[in-house]
């Protein structure tokens, strides 16, 4: 999942970016509304954390411009403006959620997860595909009752594929949603991660000689996660 933070307080911006990266998200962070709008136009973000009072272009104007350009990223407004009228204005302009500063990081994380799920049409925090079960709230993966220990990158890839289960996902799309602007992405990074993921799933009994694989390769397209043969 890829997140954009648009926040002019450097401390808040850096802290949020660090916390979200450590939670397994690919995070880009900018300090003003103009750069925020530019990023939102060029990258398909899953969630955008947007401050209201911003230099250059305020958050509300940026949100209005985003929605006018049909940018569908889920927007969580982070602001110290706490009146009912402010919240109504933010939500009616196109924000998907509203969080008043100061807030707990856990709450922010929970809201980001919920927004990301909704963005991809998932309402339940648990995604089940055949024997594979992904608890997006706890970021835990199981094959049957056997837990699988995944790296944050492997989990992010599996979660993204699971949210698009049954549909092929291109390598470019995976790269866009799994890596932020700071990451150095090697050409075979996605393939390597998929290989490692398949190995761990097989080891847990999710694939093998007696059962079809869960992650299927589509030549020249990408990957698809589904239960059974394509």
């Amino acid at each position: 999942m890829r997140i954009l933070i648009v926040e002019d307080s450097q401390i808040l911006r850096d802290s949020l970016a660090q916390g979200l990266r450590e939670a397994g998200y690919a995070v880009d962070a900018v300090a003003d509304g103009k750069r925020g709008l530019l990023n939102a136009q060029t990258t398909d973000y899953d969630v955008i954390l947007l401050d209201w009072m911003l230099p250059e272009m305020d958050g509300l104007t940026m949100l209005t411009a985003m929605r006018a350009r049909k940018i569908a990223a889920a927007v969580l407004m982070l602001t110290a403006r706490d009146t009912i009228d402010d919240k109504v204005l933010g939500l009616s302009t196109g924000a998907d959620d509203y969080l008043v500063k100061p807030f707990a990081f856990k709450e922010l994380l929970a809201r980001v997860k919920a927004l990301a799920r909704r963005r991809h049409g998932e309402r339940s925090p648990t995604i089940t595909i055949g024997p594979l079960s992904i608890d997006t709230a706890a970021k835990a993966v199981r094959i049957g009752t056997t837990p699988i220990d995944l790296t944050p990158r492997e989990y992010a890839l599996l979660e993204y594929l699971a949210m698009h289960a049954g549909k092929p996902v291109t390598r470019a799309e995976l790269e866009e949603h799994l890596y932020d602007d700071r990451s150095q992405v090697f050409s075979n990074a996605i393939d390597s991660t998929v290989a490692a993921l398949r190995a761990k799933i097989d080891a847990a009994g999710g694939g093998g000689p007696n059962s079809p694989p869960l992650i299927h390769t589509r030549r020249k397209v990408g990957y698809v996660l589904m239960d059974g043969a394509p």
Partner: protein, 488 residues
């Protein structure tokens, strides 16, 4: 709680009731006097008739009623009475009496004095009697006396001449019944009029006080959320028009004060939330997993930076609050040298904001005394200088200029600086708390102000009896002037 309508209704109704009672009483007294006079005239006529029948034939006095038909004096339920006494020596002997009297004579010892009085009748009923005294005329001049019986009664009785005292009495039951009927009628009509007047008074007072009640209802419905509403001045009675106008003025001022307070509270809350959010996020993320000592050190430094800013904000808010609390304080006898303070504060501000001395020019006399507390003056002038050097575009070729002068109106200090991003419309907001040209309210630049400096300065200046004004010209020169009168 008393109501104007209730009290007015009560007072008017009581007044009407009192007037009606007095009127009714006066009417009854007049009617009773008239009827009693009429009754007494009847008695007098009867007495005169009987007197005309009394003759003195030279030897004795006699009443010639034997052949008369006088049924009213016969015994019966509504009988009337008469008794005639003749004086013989020192005694009064009954000469004649009506058939209606029982065998005994008129109650009492002898005839009563000549007068009209209320008395009980022998039948036990209440009555009224008239007693007259006269000298009966002799036979030969009886015609004269018949023609003028009253004149006879007016002759003074002589001891040597036979004197007759004649009493006629009549029941006053009919008179009393009539008077009672009249009294009842007056009372009934009076009570009905009082009841009607109460209803009419309530209706009139309710109608008369309707505009007042409408005004009260509108005022009672006002609250913090409806202070933008105004009372209607049209169709207000002459007495309430000025009240409504005054209330509207008061509402306008209250509305403005509420909005200002709400805006200030909202801005202060916003400003205070930002450093709290920064610190919380900084610490929560740092604590979420193990960190290196270097990382913890950076977190601590970042946290201290946030705290420093929060502290400066809190102190600025406290200054503003204290300055506001000190408004209108008692005048001080202290005198400050504003020229010296200006130079002192200029040196401080240049250093704090990292400016070269060439970025600020000062045109001031050696000394400039003003009736103001030196610390207060330093705070006001310091705020003005901070504002100019921090927000203004100042450099060696476009320095901020300070001019201190003494004029007839008082002592003034004007600080002018180039403000390229400012617009004429912004000048009105310069003294608003938390107003900043850049709407971003959580700057990470530690030197960034809070938008409180000029607000604090204005409140302090007003508390010292002075004022701060701002002027912005077409060349983007912003001039802020602090003026303090020579005497408070």
């Amino acid at each position: 709680m008393t109501s104007i309508r209730g009290r007015t209704s009560l007072l008017v109704a009581a007044s009407i009731a009192g007037l009606l009672a007095l009127g009714g009483l006066a009417l009854f007294v007049v009617v009773r006097a008239a009827l009693t006079r009429q009754f007494d005239d009847g008695l007098a006529a009867r007495a005169a008739a009987l007197q005309s029948l009394t003759r003195f034939d030279g030897e004795k006095v006699e009443m010639d009623i034997a052949g008369e038909v006088m049924p009213r004096y016969h015994a019966g339920k509504d009988a009337e009475y008469f008794v005639a006494w003749i004086r013989e020596g020192n005694r009064w002997n009954v000469l004649e009496q009506s058939e209606s009297l029982p065998a005994a004579a008129w109650p009492g010892d002898g005839p009563p004095a000549p007068e009209i009085v209320d008395c009980p009748l022998p039948s036990g009923r209440p009555g009224r009697s008239l007693t007259i005294e006269f000298i009966p005329p002799a036979e030969h001049d009886s015609d004269d006396h018949e023609s003028s019986p009253a004149a006879t009664t007016q002759q003074p009785p002589s001891q040597s001449i036979t004197t007759v005292r004649l009493l006629v009495a009549q029941s006053r039951t009919a008179l009393d019944r009539t008077l009672w009927t009249i009294a009842l009628s007056i009372s009934g009509v009076g009570i009905a009029l009082v009841v009607a007047s109460i209803a009419a008074t309530r209706w009139a007072v309710r109608r008369g006080t309707r505009p007042l009640e409408a005004l009260c209802a509108r005022v009672a419905a006002l609250g913090p959320e409806t202070l933008n509403q105004r009372l209607t001045l049209e169709h207000q009675p002459m007495e309430l028009g000025p009240v409504a106008a005054r209330l509207n003025d008061l509402l306008a001022r209250l509305d403005e004060a509420f909005k200002r307070e709400k805006s200030f509270t909202s801005a202060a809350s916003h400003e205070l939330r930002t450093p709290i959010a920064e610190l919380r996020m900084l610490l929560e993320v740092a604590l979420s997993r193990e960190r290196t000592p270097e990382r913890w050190e950076k977190t601590a430094r970042d946290g201290l930076g946030v705290l420093d800013r929060a502290q400066r904000l809190t102190e600025a808010l406290l200054r503003l609050s204290r300055a506001g609390a000190g408004s209108g304080s008692a005048p001080t006898d202290a005198t400050a040298d504003l020229a010296a303070i200006l130079r002192q504060q200029a040196a401080r501000a240049l250093e704090v904001h990292g400016h070269d001395p060439s970025h600020l020019s000062i045109d001031a006399p050696d000394a400039l005394a003003a009736p103001i507390d030196p610390a207060l003056a330093a705070s006001i002038i310091g705020n003005m200088l901070d504002n100019a050097l921090h927000h203004g575009d100042v450099a060696e070729d476009r320095p901020a200029r300070c001019i201190a002068r003494q004029g007839s109106a008082g002592v003034s200090i004007t600080i002018t600086n180039y403000a390229p991003t400012l617009t004429t419309g912004d000048v009105a907001h310069l003294f608003e708390p938390f107003w900043r040209k850049d709407p971003a309210r959580s700057p990470h630049d530690a030197r960034q102000g809070f938008g409180l400096g000029l607000s604090v300065g204005r409140v302090l200046a007003e508390s010292a009896g002075g004022r701060i004004t701002a002027v912005f010209d077409a060349d983007h020169q912003l001039g802020v002037t602090f003026q303090v009168p020579l005497s408070r």
